[in-house]
Symmetry: C2
Subunit: 196 residues, 2 copies
């Protein structure tokens, strides 16, 4: 995915020592053709796993999850934020902490759309602490669905999310892993993380 | 769009006298091929307007906005909820009221991704009171962008949103207009609304 790293390098905006914003093409403004290419790549990497459903969390995971689901010819489910289990009947519910926003969000998926016969691929745009993805993993566990893999567009390799997800024993594929953010620019990890 | 009305009729779940849930294929679980067909239809209906950007609001507008933007070969921008203008620098900001949730949400778009040279198509999944779409219209106005049209998947014709949007003087295209929800089922409007 050298083209993606190149795009992150050229269009990403570094803020301070640990924030990289890629909202010109990934998660505020979205370049549709980039998303199609990302969806094709995820579909290729997770092709052999009999995936029945792509699961993501609103809002910025939806675009890549949609193109992945389209390529895999399966439905997408996006977990909803901000409703409590009391407000929404018949849902699996978990709480996700956001360290950047310093908030907690209740995240739900209807019982109707995730169940024990599902073989799930989780897709999200960013992996930092892993909180969002682990929330989705928790929803899969509650639904007794089979978690088959996790696809991430941009992993911040210097935060703990990658390690936390790779302990789950399923393939975790990050299309670009940023090892560090320096004043001179971004340093990407080469190849795949060893712990995969 | 008879196929869409048929799908809403067969898969939609009516709750009480004014709620129709289509979350099996539109806004919780998402059927990617349905979204591609919807995007193609919006692109066809708004083809002649020189659209440069598709604008929606997170979260449930993103899927249709993405497929529309893909077909039109322009970027998509989704307005973000829950950040105030103080928290996010360099943004246009407006407040959207949700009557169903009885909440207010601050909605923002970065100055970087909407501007006076843009010709904007607004896309959203549902039109009821029109609050969300009018919030997006307000963001366009602040950005001095040209609002060229509004595409809605499902309009609840018995609420005031359609009338409010059609006063703006731009084409408003709803793929399915529900005229009323009766115990016997849904009644769709035939043809296009007269005020268009």
């Amino acid at each position: 995915m050298d083209w993606l790293k190149q795009k992150i390098r050229s269009e990403g905006r570094v803020i301070g020592s640990d924030i990289i914003k890629v909202d010109s093409f990934l998660n505020h403004q979205v370049d549709p053709e980039t998303m199609v290419a990302i969806g094709q790549e995820f579909a290729r990497r997770f092709a052999a796993l009999g995936i029945t459903k792509v699961l993501t969390i609103e809002a910025s995971g939806i675009a890549a999850a949609l193109t992945t689901a389209l390529e895999m010819r399966v439905p997408l489910v996006f977990a909803k934020k901000g409703r409590t289990a009391q407000q929404a009947e018949g849902v699996y519910s978990t709480v996700v902490h956001s360290y950047t926003r310093k908030t907690h969000a209740t995240v739900t998926v209807s019982h109707l759309y995730l169940g024990r016969r599902d073989r799930v691929l989780i897709v999200d745009d960013f992996l930092a602490t892993g909180e969002a993805a682990l929330g989705l993993v928790d929803l899969c566990r509650q639904a007794e669905a089979t978690l088959c893999g996790i696809g991430i567009i941009v992993e911040k390799g210097f935060q703990e999310g990658g390690r936390r997800l790779r302990q789950l024993g399923v393939p975790v594929e990050s299309l670009a892993v940023i090892e560090k953010i320096t004043p001179a620019g971004l340093v990407f990890a080469e190849g795949v993380p060893a712990s995969r």
